[in-house]
């Protein structure tokens, strides 16, 4: 009871975070219920009505094949949100495991993990993601893998440094004296204490990873048309921008910006709540 | 008015704006410092010692506001001066040195240049110093604080010097323009014991040589006794007792001062026998009774709650002031 009151107080103190939370919930609902919310079939082309400006019938207009942009943007929520969440969770899981091992065991494990992270960071990250998707082939799963790989180093670093600090803490010694094994200490004593910075990192990462996925499909890698995905839609709309048909690119672009903004605000808000010292 | 008075703090009250509303940090502080005199302000951390000096110098944190009172320096109320005027007085007439000398110096500027910065800031327009003269003055200043090989140390950065050395540099900076008042805010905190003595001796010597008054802020009664002629005892933003050292140590009249003395470690007193002061500093976010020590005081009486508590002279010694309704 006390705790929920505290959260409510903190959210009311941060109206932006609250607004972001509301938008986030709406976006998730959109993603879940998209197939039942779309007024048209997002794949159905209607060449007689191609490139129609926004109207009462087509709120966001239609694209070059006469497909309803509103339905496509709505369906795109599913794809983009799904990729971002999958990539972040995958990156967090692998990164936490590697970072925890590196920080806890030190020595060769630490060196090996550190080297691996350094190699990934020596690449231009977006270009690395491009190359991975190109090599593995164009599929949604490969976009997730590529995003996860370029996000992973950040988790390794966060978790490793937290574990290094916590390792020397009294409660770890106490657990050891009680006869707990190394792996048990790591999983039951240390990792729960890392969860707070991890959650912050994940929420800040979510927006970035969404931008990455959309950028990949914008340049033509990963997800292929006609999948309703925001990056592809912006890419398709790009050629019509210079002839004045702005709506094809604008609405998916705005949707992407809005959702990323909402993730970042949520991340900032979470960080302020969990760790006010790092506020900048 | 006594022309011998250099600094007079009159009924100074300061409040800080915080998330929990206004906090009355200082409550009608009164202090008097004569020319060439050394006065110590003693109190626990958070008692308002430093805030008093920051307010006097006009370098309070923006969240803090002087709500009442005056600070008369050499006949002028410093609080009425425009900021630009006040800026010119700081470093030239009144200077201040701080605790943790290493972090109190600019880490990426040569110490010689930091001395020159003060000289430049207070350079007279009619006779501006040339670069060479400034450098010579800076080196002379380093020599004055007894830094060996001053010409070489002129080019040193703070991280290359020991803590004691940094404190000497800070003293050199503060005294570069021969101020008439030096405020030393816990100047020996963060230094080892032998260095503490050397630094205090240096301050004392330089003060005597330049006929400079010193305001020593400390939590160490022993230090105050050794180096100052008067001691003002502060607690929770109030001056409770203000007396010449001899008189104070012979017969402290305020219950708080007496307890503070009993709580000072001395040779021959074991830890179990060392007295302590019950309770803690009152929470200033809440409204306070006239005497802020009353909640911790074992001599509390109902009349302690009457308004209008001020410092008054003791009948036996006019220069021994005390703010207490039920003194020892």
């Amino acid at each position: 009871m006390k705790r929920s009151l505290e959260w409510r107080y903190l959210l009311l103190q941060n109206p932006l975070t609250l607004a972001a939370l509301v938008v986030f919930i709406l976006v998730v609902l959109c993603a879940i219920f998209a197939p039942w919310l779309t007024p048209y079939d997002p794949f159905a082309s209607d060449t007689a009505n191609s490139l129609q400006a926004p109207s009462a019938a087509h709120w966001f207009g239609t694209d070059q094949l006469g497909r309803d942009m509103f339905s496509r943007v709505l369906m795109g929520t599913r794809m983009d949100l799904g990729i971002a969440i999958a990539a972040v969770f995958l990156a967090a899981a692998i990164g936490t495991f590697l970072g925890a091992c590196a920080g806890f065991y030190g020595g060769y494990v630490d060196t090996a993990v550190g080297r691996g992270v350094d190699i990934i960071m020596a690449f231009p990250l977006f270009v690395l993601a491009m190359a991975i998707v190109a090599a593995l082939g164009n599929s949604v799963a490969n976009v997730v893998y590529a995003s996860a790989i370029i996000n992973m180093p950040f988790y390794v670093r966060v978790v490793r440094s937290e574990i290094l600090v916590l390792k020397g803490a009294g409660f770890v010694e106490a657990a050891r004296l009680c006869g707990n094994s190394n792996s048990r200490i790591l999983w039951s004593q240390l990792l729960p204490n890392v969860s707070a910075p991890l959650v912050v990192q994940m929420s800040l990462n979510m927006g970035w990873s969404m931008l990455n996925a959309a950028s990949l499909s914008f340049v033509g890698l990963g997800i292929r048309p006609p999948s309703p995905e925001w990056g592809i839609m912006v890419a398709e709309g790009a050629q019509y921008i210079i002839s004045g048909q702005w709506w094809v690119a604008l609405f998916p672009g705005l949707a992407l910006t809005l959702v990323v903004l909402c993730f970042n605000l949520l991340g900032d808000g979470l960080r302020d709540i969990i760790d006010p010292r790092r506020r900048t | 008015m006594n022309t011998n008075v250099l600094l007079q703090v009159q009924d100074l009250s300061v409040a800080f704006a915080t998330r929990h509303g206004q906090v009355a940090v200082l409550d009608k502080v009164n202090l008097t410092l004569h020319k060439g005199e050394t006065l110590a302000i003693v109190g626990e951390s958070g008692s308002g010692k430093s805030v008093t000096s920051f307010a006097a110098l006009g370098i309070l944190d923006p969240a803090g506001k002087v709500t009442h009172g005056r600070v008369i320096f050499d006949g002028r109320n410093l609080l009425d001066l425009p900021p630009a005027e006040m800026r010119k007085l700081r470093g030239r007439e009144l200077a201040m040195i701080f605790q943790n000398p290493r972090s109190a110096l600019n880490p990426i500027r040569k110490v010689g240049h930091q001395i020159e910065d003060v000289l430049t800031a207070h350079n007279s327009l009619s006779h501006p110093l040339t670069r060479k003269e400034k450098k010579a003055a800076a080196i002379a200043q380093l020599e004055a604080v007894k830094i060996t090989d001053p010409a070489r140390r002129y080019n040193a950065y703070p991280y290359e010097l020991s803590g004691g050395m940094c404190q000497r540099v800070m003293i050199a900076i503060a005294l570069a323009c021969k101020p008439r008042l030096l405020i030393a805010d816990e100047p020996t905190t963060g230094l080892d014991v032998t260095t503490q003595v050397v630094i205090m001796d240096l301050i004392q010597e330089l003060a005597a040589a330049n006929n400079m008054a010193t305001l020593l802020i400390t939590h160490d009664l022993g230090l105050a006794a050794d180096y100052c002629s008067r001691v003002a005892v502060m607690h929770a933003g109030q001056v409770l007792e203000d007396a010449p050292v001899a008189s104070l140590f012979r017969a402290a009249r305020h219950p708080y001062t007496a307890r503070l003395m009993a709580a000072t470690p001395q040779p021959g007193i074991t830890l179990e026998r060392l007295a302590f002061i019950p309770g803690q500093l009152p929470d200033l976010r809440e409204a306070q009774p006239p005497c802020r020590f009353s909640s911790r005081c074992d001599r509390y009486r109902p009349e302690c709650n009457a308004p209008g508590l001020t410092l008054v002279s003791r009948p036996e010694n006019a220069s021994h002031l005390i703010a207490c309704r039920n003194p020892l």
Partner: protein, 341 residues
């Protein structure tokens, strides 16, 4: 002094070799996974099986992976990055020709971000909770959310289609100008060297929108770091000392606070610059910019591995040089770093 600088530089360059080698290995392996048969591509559509096999042997593609890598390394040591089969030119030539275009764009974007971001961060830090502080917070929060490719398109729509202020987003120069004589490869500088103002204006007009697109993205981290860093420094003990000694406000701000804030800001600049090099690919695609990013992207789409390997290596080398510059600049500002070596 000069000597320590030299040893620092050489030590850092030597230290970068393992990670550069790792980049070469990883890129090589990934590129071998690309779909398609380069030999068939080279031979052309009408080639016979024998012709393709012959070319495969010529290219060394029938050797083992290790053998191929060894051949690649030997060539690399002689500055030969292989040949692009889409442009038909050596990759080194292509990269040298296109790198100035990318660098000019990225640098201008970074300069714009610095020119706006630093003063914004400084004003925000010195006036907390003023309107400019709120503006700074708004820009830093929203700046990182803008998808660069989308920002570029919006700018094109507004400034090219609606207002007609900007030229068509079709590369480095309009159709009627020919490039300046190559000295630096930066059109802005080369046209000035020729004294050709018209050409300078044309190049600048083409450059401005893509540079703003990159700049908007770089602005946020720079302004954020400047504000946070300066706020931290302004609250530190030595600033209080400076105030207590009566130093003038501008001296405190400029030679005490800002110099101490520069370190984290320069580090951020390095990070931002390296990130900009990566997302150049997107901006170059939107503005049809003939830089290394679009070159690598086209090659990647065509499974043309040599240009991609060359591009990644070039960027990795740029990273190393960039980090070195950042470290050297920091050690010039902060004497403590000199001692730490």
């Amino acid at each position: 002094m000069q000597n320590t600088f030299f040893t620092l530089i050489s030590r850092r360059l030597l230290g970068a070799i393992p990670s550069l080698f790792a980049v070469i290995v990883v890129t090589f392996v990934i590129m071998r996974l690309l779909p398609g048969d380069p030999a068939a591509f080279f031979a052309g559509a009408a080639a016979t099986e024998e012709a393709i096999a012959q070319i495969r042997t010529q290219l060394g593609l029938d050797e083992s992976m290790f053998q191929q890598f060894w051949i690649y390394l030997q060539a690399l040591a002689q500055g030969d990055m292989g040949r692009s089969f889409t442009t038909g030119q050596p990759v080194t030539t292509d990269l040298l020709e296109r790198l100035p275009a990318s660098l000019e764009l990225t640098l201008l974007g970074l300069v714009m971000a610095i020119v706006v971001g630093l003063p914004l961060g400084i004003l925000a830090a010195t006036r907390p909770n003023s309107w400019i502080d709120h503006l700074c917070r708004l820009l830093t929060t929203s700046g990182v959310c803008l998808p660069t490719f989308f920002t570029g398109l919006v700018l094109i729509y507004i400034f090219y289609y609606l207002l007609g202020w900007a030229p068509a987003p079709m590369g480095r120069l309009d159709l009627f100008s020919s490039p300046p004589d190559k000295v630096t490869g930066f059109y802005l500088i080369d046209s000035l060297l020729m004294g050709d103002w018209e050409l300078f204006n044309s190049a600048l007009a083409q450059l401005i929108l893509p540079a703003i697109t990159l700049g908007l993205f770089a602005l946020a981290p720079l302004a954020r770091m400047t504000r946070a860093g300066l706020l931290g420094v302004l609250n530190s003990d030595f600033i209080r000392t400076a105030h207590a000694n009566g130093l003038p406000r501008h001296v405190i701000l400029l030679s005490y606070a800002l110099r101490n804030t520069l370190l984290p800001v320069i580090n951020t600049m390095g990070m931002v610059f390296s990130y900009l090099l990566g997302i150049n690919v997107l901006v170059e695609k939107v503005f049809a910019w003939p830089g290394v990013g679009s070159y690598a992207l086209e090659a990647l789409m065509a499974s043309d591995y040599s240009p991609v390997q060359g591009f990644v290596l070039a960027i990795a080398v740029l990273y190393v040089l960039l980090n070195l510059t950042v470290d050297l600049t920091c050690s010039l500002i902060d004497p403590r770093m000199e001692a730490a070596r």
